[in-house]
Symmetry: C2
Subunit: 220 residues, 2 copies
Amino acid sequence: MPESFAITKKNKVRQLNKKAHYDTDTVHRILDAGVVAHVAFIQDGAPIVVPMIYGRDGGTIYLHGARKARVIRLLEQTDQACLNVTLLDGIVLARSAFNSSMNYRSVTVFGKPTLVEGNEDKLHAMNLISEHSMPGRWSELRDSHDREVKMTGVIALKIESASAKISAGKPDDDEADYEIPVWAGVLPVTTTIGILEDDDRLLPGADPSDAVKALQNRTI
Amino acid sequence: MPESFAITKKNKVRQLNKKAHYDTDTVHRILDAGVVAHVAFIQDGAPIVVPMIYGRDGGTIYLHGARKARVIRLLEQTDQACLNVTLLDGIVLARSAFNSSMNYRSVTVFGKPTLVEGNEDKLHAMNLISEHSMPGRWSELRDSHDREVKMTGVIALKIESASAKISAGKPDDDEADYEIPVWAGVLPVTTTIGILEDDDRLLPGADPSDAVKALQNRTI
């Protein structure tokens, strides 16, 4: 895997390009921190974007859905897809509307999607996707039924090109605006997992495992 | 404005279609609750998805960026764009990987983007976008300079078609799996605004206004 992605017309960050990162580590780190990816594809010549959960194995992202789902069928057929994961970290209140902005970590990935076939490869990907949003859960659950694997469509998206954009820190105002006596600063945004909500049909003694309890209070 | 959107090939929810909503109220409510939209468009025949903040005025969504930004130029030229706003509400730990899922509110919008021209119309849209993520802030700030309005590209996306999908509640397991003595339930996910972080160059007495203080501890 290259240490960084080549800058091309496709992945080049044009606006606020000081915030751009093309190294593999940064791209992977943001992918690993997110839960929901937005995946774009084309149907009948028109762009469509759908939210999907995902997993990562080295330079490959895995997506899944119902085998017959439109998103799986169209990703299977296309040779180009684009995926973005954005984590909102803050709302930056500057001294003007123009300089007000957001703090975020964002990554955009381009690649050719392929359908994953064969039970073993599909289960490998399904495990990665599950562990990405529910770490430690997979091994607590019964084995997947063959029927379930068959009903699941799995897509591998090899990361061919990518860029990350990170915005952090305090407002960056016009020098003259620092004379304006208005409050300015950052409203930090955090996404957290709260208190576990028990299912209504738990068996006696079916308490949360340590892995599940570790998810509680986690920041995502 | 129609009370609900016609179901067409474009906006029809195919998977888990009991979770689908096509009424204008639900579509608008999810749009109003989100902060970041993912906007898809086509460049050189390939799909691209970018995160953008937005505002809404009735059946029109406003987006903005640098006037020269790729996203603005391409949205200006295309006659079809798609936008999705997804709010993750929970991670649903079922008794099998197959039935594990997410709770979310998601809305997908289709329409023809147009460039907004003229200072007054642009400022109207810029105000809506600002008020969407920073309610009450616009009136605390100095007027926008003409140069700033000129440098801002504003896109209006009239909502021609839309669908919403809402997933909520506890796991829905296979009947046989309720015999498995594993914990199951929901990990609620919340996104909140934390404690205000002061800019380093605040003037004496430039305290947060009531509007700014009201943003603190808000759930988004």
